[in-house]
Amino acid sequence: MSIQPILELKDVHSGYGSIKALKGISLKVMPGEIVAIIGANGAGKSTTLMTICGIIKAEKGEIYYAGQLINKVSAEKLPTMGLCQVPEGRRIFPRLTVMENLRLGAFHRDDIDQIMKDIQHSYEMFPILGERKKQQGGTLSGGEQQMLAIARALMTKPKVLLLDEPSLGLAPIIVQQIFDIIAQINKEEGVTILLVEQNANLALHAASRGYVVETGEITLEDEADVLLSNPKIREAYLGE
């Protein structure tokens, strides 16, 4: 293989105190692809993303980002290196305006002109945010908040974007919109995407490769199409 993976986990263990949530996760993400992690509730999907982002410290194993070991890098440094997460539940700052939420995405950047241009660009990508730029984040609807969360993450100029359950609690039509946007970000902006989803069908259709996580371990990894046609997956995650 000639291309280096942009994000690589090698046998990562982590957890909350005495509870072990991850028991040896290994995965690779190549530049430019969309990778999906699917699994049931409590399988350790979100924990994987939080561990990559340094919010939860990995107890064992190595996390490489762009060839660099990032286990010990503090969480707030990673976005400046181009690794950004849209966490589960979106976590918009509820009492800051849409505009301020977007400005905070660019907190580490000093190029004010470019930031303003990027904010305009977000408004073009998500026109609804432009209409509500003076509104507080907490007053937006779920779909709007998800868009804001993605737009805010894009403001950090990420190379790799980690998306945690972007479909959570949204109406199907909005979910489709969000996934279209994800594909667009991947294609047009060249952002590598690692996607965590419970909705396996959606995720595997969007992604090129997929990993299946069960109780803190990777049980399957393959091309997305292969996973989609795997009868076990179809039974366990696609409800057939």
């Binding site: 957890g15 909350y16 105190g17 509870i19 949530a21 409590g42």
Partner: protein, 408 residues
């Protein structure tokens, strides 16, 4: 070893330089327009040396070089732990009771005096534990109920001449009423709003005690309170009872011991009763408790009332023993002390509270000869204890195991 503790040493150096920077303006700049460095450096060097020794011990212990000392100690501790769990609880209780009963025969006057304070604070700590530890409401004005109990006895005794035994339930009753009065408006509040309102009530009661000259004699306090009267059987002319004023310290000790034991039994029984479970549910999630049909209003008020009753009893006893009360004894610092004892010992755990009280009363007594440094050391100890044992010395088993934490 040096590598491992590099971070510790680095932080220590930074901390010490920070301290130097803090001390110098206070000690080195004088109002006559001069600057000196001598005193600052002397004080700083003392602190440096003292903390260096402590840190050295900590580092050596951490690096395992003290194994030959630490191992037997920890093994002994482990042994004690296994025996303590192996033996039934009642043996420990009986042993503790026997020690408590024969203690005054061996202790001198000073020792008994300290022991009485300890028992009194145990009673207060257990009462506060009902409010903070069981029902989960942060109460920063608890000592006010103690004050109400003490003043009830003081006033009823000096003005109306009522005896201690009549006043004891009355003190409990007034404290209980005060508890309900404080409790009622605060029941709608949650978390830290509750804390400031209880603090406010505590201060209000203290200020009233301080300023209502006609009733409480203001800051001068009330003097000449009668001691506890008891009837002792006398066998001189047949069998009669004779009335005595309790003067002997040992009698006070036994009375305080009785009070503390009653409080401990009550709190223990309450904790494992239906009421205790209701409090627990309110503590862990008030909204959920309400939805499950727990009448949070009544149970929260009950927690205040019961906490206040223990404080009232302790207060009446305090007034009878000191034979003098003044608002000075009921300041916020006292409330903070009692809260400290509860949290330091371990919220919700009765042995923990007893240990916490013993630690906080005994510790300042040890430093009695460094009178002016006493409170400084007390404050520092509080911080250090919290840093190393934030859950208390003996954490209660039922506190802090929320379902969501378990599942992770």
């Amino acid at each position: 070893m040096i590598q491992e503790f590099k971070k510790v040493w680095k932080q220590y150096t930074i901390g010490m330089l920070w301290l130097l920077g803090l001390l110098w303006p206070l000690l080195g700049i004088h109002s006559d327009g001069t600057m000196t460095f001598q005193t600052t450096f002397t004080v700083w060097t003392y602190i440096l040396a003292g903390s260096f020794v402590c840190l050295m011990i900590y580092v050596i212990k951490g690096s395992g070089s003290l194994k030959f000392v630490a191992d037997p100690v920890s093994r002994a501790a482990g042994n004690i732990k296994t025996t303590s769990t192996a033996l039934p609880t009642w043996i420990w209780l009986a042993a503790g009771l026997i020690v408590a009963l024969i203690y005054p025969q061996f202790a001198d006057r000073y020792g008994t005096d300290v022991a009485i304070s300890v028992l009194l604070y145990i009673c207060l700590g257990l009462g506060l534990n009902v409010v903070v530890g069981l029902a989960g409401m942060l109460d920063l004005g608890y000592i006010a109920f103690y004050g109400v109990g003490a003043y009830t006895y003081a006033i009823l005794n000096t003005v109306y001449g009522l005896g201690f035994w009549v006043c004891l339930p009355l003190s409990a009753l007034t404290a209980c009423i005060a508890g309900c009065i404080v409790g009622y408006p605060t029941l709608r509040m949650r978390g830290d709003y509750l804390a400031i309102v209880t603090l406010g009530f505590g201060e209000i009661i203290r200020i009233i005690l301080n300023n209502w000259m006609e009733l409480t004699n203001g800051p001068n306090g009330i003097l000449g309170i009668k001691s506890i009267g008891i009837f002792l059987p006398v066998f001189e002319n047949g069998f009669t009872f004779e009335h005595f004023w309790m003067k002997k310290l040992q009698l006070f000790y036994y009375f305080a011991l009785g009070l503390a034991i009653v409080a401990a039994i009550c709190v223990h029984r309450l904790n494992f009763s239906r009421v205790g479970r209701a409090w627990e549910s309110i503590r862990e999630d008030e909204t959920a408790a309400e939805l499950m049909g727990v009448n949070t209003f009544i149970y929260k008020l009950l927690a205040y009332a019961i906490g206040a009753i223990f404080a009232g009893l302790a207060g009446a006893f305090f007034a009878a023993r000191m034979r003098f009360v003044s608002p000075e004894s009921f300041t916020f610092l006292e409330s903070a002390m009692v809260l400290c004892m509860v949290v330091l010992g371990g919220m919700g755990s009765i042995p923990g509270i007893i240990l916490g009280v013993a630690a906080l009363i005994a510790l300042p007594e040890v430093f009695r000869q460094f009178e002016s440094y006493r409170m400084l050391i007390f404050g520092a100890t509080m911080v250090i204890m919290m840093l190393f044992r934030p859950a208390g010395l003996i954490p209660a088993k039922r506190v802090g195991t929320r379902s969501e934490e378990k599942e992770g």
